[in-house]
Amino acid sequence: MRSIDRLFEHSTRSLAQRTSRRSVLAALGRILTGAALLPLLPIDRSSRAEAAQDGAGAAAAKASAKSIDDPNSCEYWKYCAIDGFLCSCCGGSSHTCPPGTSPSPITWIGTCHNPADARDYIVSYNDCCGKTSCGNCECNRNEREKPMYRLSRNNDVNWCMANADANYHCSVSVILGVAEQ
């Protein structure tokens, strides 16, 4: 027992000799400042906290980090309220229409959270039009989506409705900017 006491006494004195009191305070300060800043980052956690308690949260938790970054996956972060076929699986990308189709000039907007940079982005969900359904990579996600009476937040209507060729082919999600809190 005495030998253990001696060992701790030796190591403490040794640490005190190698470390200034100011450097310890500085390190502690850095940790405390970081902890204080974290809640100020622009993240809306309210919906996620609710979702986490339920099936949607569990499903999201299962989605691997890879699929959240994969534009061919329905779990891709930008697709949080997309409903249709992913243009990235139809010859386009997450923000470009496939060859020979036309983008819808009218659309609806949503906000999706990018876990990679912890920012919320405003995205525009456009449909690509003029050919029949792509039929590939169907994806139906509805975070903050609203029924048809709030049309600017609705993904049920055919947004190709005003195109010269109004047939629906696939859907994209285009970043419009960072959502300001």
Binding site: A56, M148, N158, D165
Partner: protein
């Protein structure tokens, strides 16, 4: 052993002799099948055909014999309804002149339900709302004198048609409110973002005579209602995302909004939710409400039910929970109940299998595999 072999050979010979002696099959004449008299267990199952969306169709299915009886073509992203007497299926749809592309023609097509033959059409302005299937994409007035069609361009309005003369009578602006909820001989209500109901009354020519706004009955930010209202006695019920039931009585000159009631307990609220493409069905005679329910959070309002909950609409008490996993069914996204005294429930899964239940006991009677591609809506008289 030798006797047995002999007997077998004799039997074989006898069989062959019989075969050669049998008269030939009669000649056949190609005709068209008749439907025969309808029964309350027939269901019009609307297949949106989402994977090749220009090819939607309505499958007429018999819930007793489990046979497909016929098909009605439904074009692109259709709205579908039945006439009040059940004798006509009316489909609002869109065709492109070259199949998947080309000039757009919006049209309402009428089908005689006794023969499944087309009987006429009305060409519309190219404004028909292309949206999910509800009772309110197009709908008849109670006396069948008018037919209303929801328009979204995205400005919202509705068309008034004369189904007898096959003519467009006019168009009424709805100031951002959507869909056509019919009541009486000449009233049309629409759902508004403010949570109110706009009701337009028409004159004898189908033009607007007056309009009125209700008080708000839901908050689109806090707890939106699904637009897929369900017919109840004297009106429609609208369920909210969180499970409130808003019953609207349209029997008077102005809609009466009854006090809402909940299908979830305080502990279940926000955790168990209705959802899917068709979110509920009501047996109007028995006053029973059938709702596919799932566990889910915000954004899960289109998820199918893992259970069907049954409620008494008078007492608001839950009568049963039917777990669908027992029948190895995937989540249910559309539901309907027949309106007779021995009712059956039709429930379409997210794989377009259609389960048939005894509506009184919950007993699973049959699963029709793949009744269509994306069956999202059922209609019955």
């Amino acid at each position: 052993m030798r006797t047995a072999t002999f007997n077998a050979a004799l039997l074989c010979l006898f069989g062959w002799t019989q075969l050669f002696a049998a008269p030939p099959l009669p000649t056949e004449h190609l005709t068209v099948e008749s439907l025969g008299p309808s029964n309350p267990h027939w269901i019009y199952a609307v297949d949106e055909a989402f994977y090749n969306e220009t090819d939607a169709r309505v499958n007429l299915f018999d819930g007793d014999s489990y046979r497909r009886l016929g098909q009605i073509d439904a074009g692109f992203n259709p709205g579908v309804n039945l006439s009040p007497d059940g004798k006509t299926t009316v489909i609002g749809t869109t065709y492109f002149s070259r199949g998947g592309h080309g000039t757009r023609t919006d049209v309402v097509e009428f089908t005689d339900n006794a023969t499944l033959a087309l009987t006429g059409e009305i060409v519309l302005p190219s404004k028909r709302a292309n949206t999910l299937l509800t009772y309110f994409n197009l709908a008849y007035s109670a006396d069948s004198h008018f037919l209303y069609v929801s328009y979204v361009t995205p400005a919202s309005s509705f068309g008034v048609l004369d189904p007898a003369k096959k003519a467009v009578l006019g168009e009424v602006d709805t100031a951002g409110c959507v869909l056509v909820i019919p009541s009486g001989p000449n009233r049309v209500s629409s759902l508004c973002e403010s949570g109110r109901l706009l009701t337009v009354t028409l004159d004898a020519d189908g033009h607007e005579a007056s309009r009125a706004m209700s008080e708000p009955f839901f908050d689109a930010d806090v707890d939106p209602v699904f637009v897929q209202g369900v017919p109840i006695r004297n009106g429609y019920a609208f369920l909210s995302f969180l499970g409130e039931v808003h019953e609207l009585d349209f029997s008077g000159p102005a809609p009466v909004i009854r006090a809402p009631w909940s299908i979830v307990s305080a502990a279940e609220k926000g955790h168990w939710r209705p959802g899917g493409q068709t979110v509920a069905a009501v047996h109007r005679g028995l006053g029973r409400l059938y709702v596919p329910m799932h566990r889910g959070g915000e954004g899960s309002h289109k998820s199918g039910g893992t259970q069907i909950w049954v409620f008494d609409m008078k007492t608001h008490q839950r009568m049963a929970r039917w777990p669908l996993a027992l029948g190895k069914l995937s989540p249910v996204i559309a539901i309907q109940v027949s309106q007779d005294d021995a009712p059956i429930v039709f429930a379409a899964t997210d794989k377009s299998d259609v389960a048939v239940f005894d509506a009184l006991t919950g007993q699973l009677k049959h699963v029709e595999k793949q009744l269509g591609q994306t069956t999202w809506f059922f209609l019955n008289p």
